[in-house]
């Protein structure tokens, strides 16, 4: 009798657990889909014709017509090319500058004890500097020397603003590398440069890739400097997208298709890097 009771108690507990699980699952998925729905609707609307897009709905016969017309607009490729150039060039430059710096901050010797911490903090505070702080002199320089007709001016600004982020993230990855390995390799007569290239870099490969990708996403999405420091020939995709602001609900299909092209790379890359992004952000900051 008692055994039966405990059995049924166990069963009700189990059933309760299952019900709770189902309820949680439904809630979480509903929430996630609702939260994502503006993006979802945009992804879908790119496959509508303008006529179909006028009335909001999720049911329609998909077509590639809008994409064809968006992709046949030559001006899009100018912006796309500029964005790709900025992203590639600044990621590479940020890495070339940031990697040795982070390495030296993690393992280097400086004459005074506190120097390392001071430089690290200096990089961190630079991250906090809002871009309005630099806009005006950069704007006047760009104005005076016609720098907004070449992509190099904006590139320099981007590198300056994103090197600290690379240093910050890579430092948190280097901090996980045991110092014994470094000391051992020093005994074996490795130069600092060899240590960095042959020992440290292979150990933090994921960190390097994710720091690069994070910087790439930030620059791909950057608008303030891109908008204010470029001319017609050097403007990037976020600037192109901002031109849709006057449309008052017209050309929804075209807007959706262009938006999809503009955001898909960042979303995909962002999703791939979110794990190491968390690591870089929290490890560096929770300590400091």
């Amino acid at each position: 009798m008692r055994a039966n009771q405990t059995l049924s108690l166990q069963r009700t507990a189990q059933i309760k657990k299952v019900i709770k699980m189902v309820a949680l699952t439904v809630t979480i998925y509903t929430l996630a889909i609702l939260y994502f729905s503006p993006i979802l609707y945009m992804l879908i609307s790119g496959f509508k014709t303008e006529y179909q897009a006028v009335s909001p709905s999720f049911v329609f016969t998909p077509t590639f017509e809008t994409y064809k017309s968006v992709l046949s607009d030559p001006s899009l490729y100018g912006y796309l090319g500029n964005s790709i150039f900025q992203v590639l060039a600044s990621s590479v430059l940020c890495l070339l500058l940031g990697l040795p710096a982070a390495f030296a901050l993690a393992f280097g010797n400086f004459r005074k004890k506190g120097t390392r911490d001071k430089i690290y903090m200096w990089f961190l505070t630079t991250i906090l500097l809002p871009p309005v702080a630099v806009l005006i002199p950069l704007y006047t320089w760009f104005h005076a020397w016609q720098l907004n007709t070449t992509p190099l001016g904006l590139l320099m600004a981007y590198v300056g603003f994103h090197v600290p982020i690379v240093v910050w993230m890579l430092y948190s990855f280097f901090a996980d590398v045991p110092t014994e390995i470094m000391e051992a390799s020093e005994m074996d007569g490795c130069t600092r440069f060899q240590q960095m290239m042959h020992i440290a870099v292979p150990l933090v490969r994921t960190g390097i890739i994710s720091a690069c990708l994070l910087v790439a996403v930030f620059i791909w999405n950057e608008f303030f400097l891109g908008f204010n420091l470029t001319g017609n020939d050097t403007a990037t995709l976020p600037v192109y997208m901002s031109r849709f602001r006057e449309q008052q609900g017209m050309f929804i299909a075209q807007l959706s298709a262009s938006s999809t092209i503009a955001i898909l790379p960042a979303i995909v890359v962002g999703w791939m890097t979110q794990k190491s992004l968390v690591k870089g952000l929290t490890l560096g900051a929770v300590k400091g």
Partner: protein, 292 residues
């Protein structure tokens, strides 16, 4: 061995960062003391002391709030309200997403989505496909239940902007807070269950204090990112109606592009930076104190 000099590794980075960020900032401070208008090349650039600051700070008539102060107030409202909402909702979302339901990674990934969308796209997408009173979901749904949709962007510019900031930045808070929750050891969670703590106690009395550091990081970075947000405001309300949805960075932009006034823009930018750094410092300190 110890005599190795590691400066060559680090100097190029310091040089580039200094030249592109610190030097321009110092110049901004210098410019803020000049009378300099790009649209008037005939007028000489002269030193004007703190005139540019006084232009914004002076209160000619105590019955009206000068534009500068209302813009500062708007910036503070937008930032503080957005940060509070992001923290609260971000925490609640993280608690939900911490459950091991089947395929929870898909749900997490969907919620992360808006964070990676460029702000100009966020702005135009919400403005045209959702908030538009004729073609957007909001307009169509409101009409279908017999309401007359109002143009939210002109009637409630600040709440809409705050809402959109939150939509973009809650994922970032979830990303960091969830990482904190998952760092809590399984043993602790088990022992809380054995001790008979209810959901409320275990969530707010035990877990919340444990992840305070993560919340602090999220709030500080969120603060820096939200204060500088510019694109979203430009594409949705363009600061309007009037100056009702201006924030400080937007006002700096208007000073340099519409008024071409380098000196005044410099003064505004300097004050913006000082206010931002003060706020970051304040948040960092006060949250640390509460934690200890």
């Amino acid at each position: 061995m110890k005599k190795k000099n590691d400066w060559p590794f680090i100097l190029p980075a310091i040089f580039v960062v200094a030249v592109m960020t610190q030097v321009p900032f110092l110049l901004t401070v210098v410019y803020s003391t000049l009378r300099w208008n790009l649209a008037r090349p005939d007028m000489p650039i002269v030193f004007s002391g703190i005139d540019n600051y006084l232009f914004f700070l002076k209160i000619p008539d105590f019955t009206v709030v000068p534009e500068f102060y209302s813009i500062v107030l708007q910036t503070i409202i937008v930032t503080v309200v957005a940060l509070v909402i992001c923290t609260v909702i971000g925490f609640l979302f993280s608690i939900l997403l911490d459950h091991p339901i089947p395929g929870v990674n898909i749900a997490r990934t969907l919620i992360m989505g808006p964070f990676f969308v460029m702000s100009t796209v966020t702005g135009v997408i919400w403005k045209t496909t959702i908030l538009n009173t004729t073609f957007g979901w909001y307009g169509v749904l409101a009409k279908s239940i017999g309401l007359a949709p109002v143009d939210l962007l002109s009637y409630y510019p600040l709440p809409v902007i705050i809402f959109l900031f939150c939509w973009q930045w809650i994922p970032f808070f979830v990303l960091i807070i969830l990482a904190g929750l998952q760092g809590i050891s399984g043993e602790l969670v088990d022992s809380m269950r054995i001790d008979g703590l209810n959901w409320w106690q275990s969530t707010f009395r035990v877990k919340l204090p444990l992840i305070m550091n993560h919340i602090r990081v999220a709030v500080m970075l969120g603060l820096v990112f939200i204060v500088k947000e510019f694109g979203l405001i430009l594409v949705t309300t363009a600061g309007g109606p009037g100056t009702r949805s201006y924030t400080l960075p937007y006002q700096v932009y208007m000073q340099i592009f519409s008024a071409s006034n380098v000196g005044r823009a410099g003064a505004l930018a300097t004050m913006t930076v000082v206010l931002t750094l003060l706020a970051v410092n304040f948040v960092s300190k006060s949250m640390k104190k509460n934690n200890l």
